[in-house]
Subunit: 435 residues, 2 copies
Amino acid sequence: MKTQAEHARSGRTTPAMEAVAAVERVPATVVMAELASGRAVLPFNPAHRGLEPAIAGIAFRTKVNANIGRSGGASGDGCELGKLRAALRAKADFIMDLSVGPRLAGLRRRMLAACPKPFGTVPIYEAIERVRGRAEALTAEGLLSVIESQARQGVDFMTLHAGLRLRDLPLAARRKAGIVSRGGALIARWMASHRAENPLYSRWNDVMDICRSHDVTVSLGDGLRPGCLADAGDRAQFSELDTLGELVRRCRGRGVQVMVEGPGHVPLNRIPAQVRREARVCGGAPFYVLGPVVTDVAAGYDHISAAIGAASAACHGAALLCYVTPAEHLGLPTSREIHEGVMAFRLAAHAGDVARGLPGARDWDDAMTEARIRFDWKRQFRIALDGDRARRRYIQGRRARAPGSDFCSMCGRDYCAIRNSKKLCGALDSRAGRG
Amino acid sequence: MKTQAEHARSGRTTPAMEAVAAVERVPATVVMAELASGRAVLPFNPAHRGLEPAIAGIAFRTKVNANIGRSGGASGDGCELGKLRAALRAKADFIMDLSVGPRLAGLRRRMLAACPKPFGTVPIYEAIERVRGRAEALTAEGLLSVIESQARQGVDFMTLHAGLRLRDLPLAARRKAGIVSRGGALIARWMASHRAENPLYSRWNDVMDICRSHDVTVSLGDGLRPGCLADAGDRAQFSELDTLGELVRRCRGRGVQVMVEGPGHVPLNRIPAQVRREARVCGGAPFYVLGPVVTDVAAGYDHISAAIGAASAACHGAALLCYVTPAEHLGLPTSREIHEGVMAFRLAAHAGDVARGLPGARDWDDAMTEARIRFDWKRQFRIALDGDRARRRYIQGRRARAPGSDFCSMCGRDYCAIRNSKKLCGALDSRAGRG
């Protein structure tokens, strides 16, 4: 079996490429070229039944990933499937299950069956569960065995913290917030206790063999992503990034699809340089950012803080945005918070697409504006980012209006700017003999 | 009586300047210099009893304005006072009352008495009410009389749409969304029906006389702000901006404090140039932006869309951010939505301050990070942007935790990255003989 990247490089389009070309409204040859160059990934594990192909890359609509998953005692399986449905209803493009704890394989099987979107995992969570939570007891074989079993199950992409090296630990120890990546901290504990190199790094060829044979897209985890503004862009982060650049080259050499994960917590003014640096160091591999949040103080509003950072990242070239929910830094998100997070991030992704001039991106805004100036509320609710919410909120204010009125409840009839402006334009038009 | 700008230009600091200097942690001479140059405004009407002085300008913390006010039948007076309290509780820095309809003066008197923050209005709303909603019946004398009576009441700053000129109407008529400024559309209707110049513009010297004698800060309204992405940065907008630049110079010539209002709806990539252009055309007068929203499709989430634009604007030099609430484009905000809007904008303002390197801005983030890595939840809730919300959300997830535990409910105990990272750092430190 060949990976999508290998097919692309041999100049062949696949049904999956054709499907995404139709969705993205570009020729299939563009999809092929982007996959061949490694600037895009099409996570498409043939074992994932019912998957609708989706692509992430600079030439395409910016995508949004929703993380779900239970932790310890919190959130039973039924609930996680409910969260998956909430994320899908809100139109997340990619889904990651970050569950830890017992019986992960069964939960994952049910999720994969219910998820038509590219589905990702962090295999170290299952590996650590198999050794009952003792990071020190992890083995390279154990990790590879989990990666392989998840690949067989149909996982489309996997976060692998292979770039966090033994040499980076002293750099991480100097930080204000240390290591805030759950997988990264586990790998770091293992390296520190064994005084040995990261097993994912030392066994990278074996990892690639598995990913290649199942066409699992590698998502290179940033175990040293900054966990606060103070740590953004420090030596630890960029030392790991250099290794990620090396691993990207090795993936490409083996025909494995690869993208690169990014921060985290970054001051707004430094996001453009972070995105450019990833592109340079990692040869244009799709950048998959977590937020980033642009302040550390906004617990309860981190979906907004992160949407600000994500919009800037998308504007400057990030291809996939991992959402952050209002529960970030406080707990696991509820279905409602998942909805909020996906919506905030779809908004950020679209704002980024408009800002970077993605062809056709602004058509959506223009259509909304046309409906708005015509007071065509039904059409506004049909095409809005979240028409259900807009409709509910509009109805709530309707006590102040007659039904079907040509003004909203913000200004009231006599003061409605659009109403006044339209009258005015009508008057100017008729004077100019245009109507 | 002299205005704060005149005192500053004569090299004298006032008690109000000293008060803001203490709050902003800068020498009073910095406040004086910024006011003298016109790069800052200190809206401080001596008739506004109980006002705590606050300054808006590039050298200081970015401020957030909350709009409140009733429209037509919606939201009675008691309710507007409740909304004022909601905005103050959420720590809005400036308040504007945009009420239209009957009995505005009495409502305003009660609001001014209850508002220790700079308080602004849009006098044309009361002027139009006095002519029972018929824009055509407005007179220059009527407008001046309202401006004067509001100045006597203690209004600290007023939005005056004086820059929208007769010559601009054909430009506005060509737009996709026309005129979306409520005051701007009223002025435009008046000009179109009388075929005469904007009375605020033709009587600008008289307007300035009133503002000077009460030290009312002029906020030059942008009647032609774009109401959709398609209209952003068009000839109509920039034609008005040129007039605003002229009016800024005239205000400064008369010792009147002045700031300039800005859009509205702007694609994210074009915000920096919009901010720079205002600074150039208006001689560095404080830029007071409404959002801007960065997409037209996000009704129900426009506080997030606008926070994205506002953070970018603040990062590039906007001094005052007018919030947008989740009700924008759909109705008048409830107290709860006012809270959401203020919080989203305080977040954006702070992110902007950190990004533009305002001295000391990041201390807040660093303090939050220190509390976070110590698992000092009480301190986090004490200093967070919205500690009450953070606490409530944290408690909601606590079922999964023992009280006082050293991990949050996101990862659970065994997988807590911070916990693992701290163990690791402790181990590395003790090996290095540091602990």
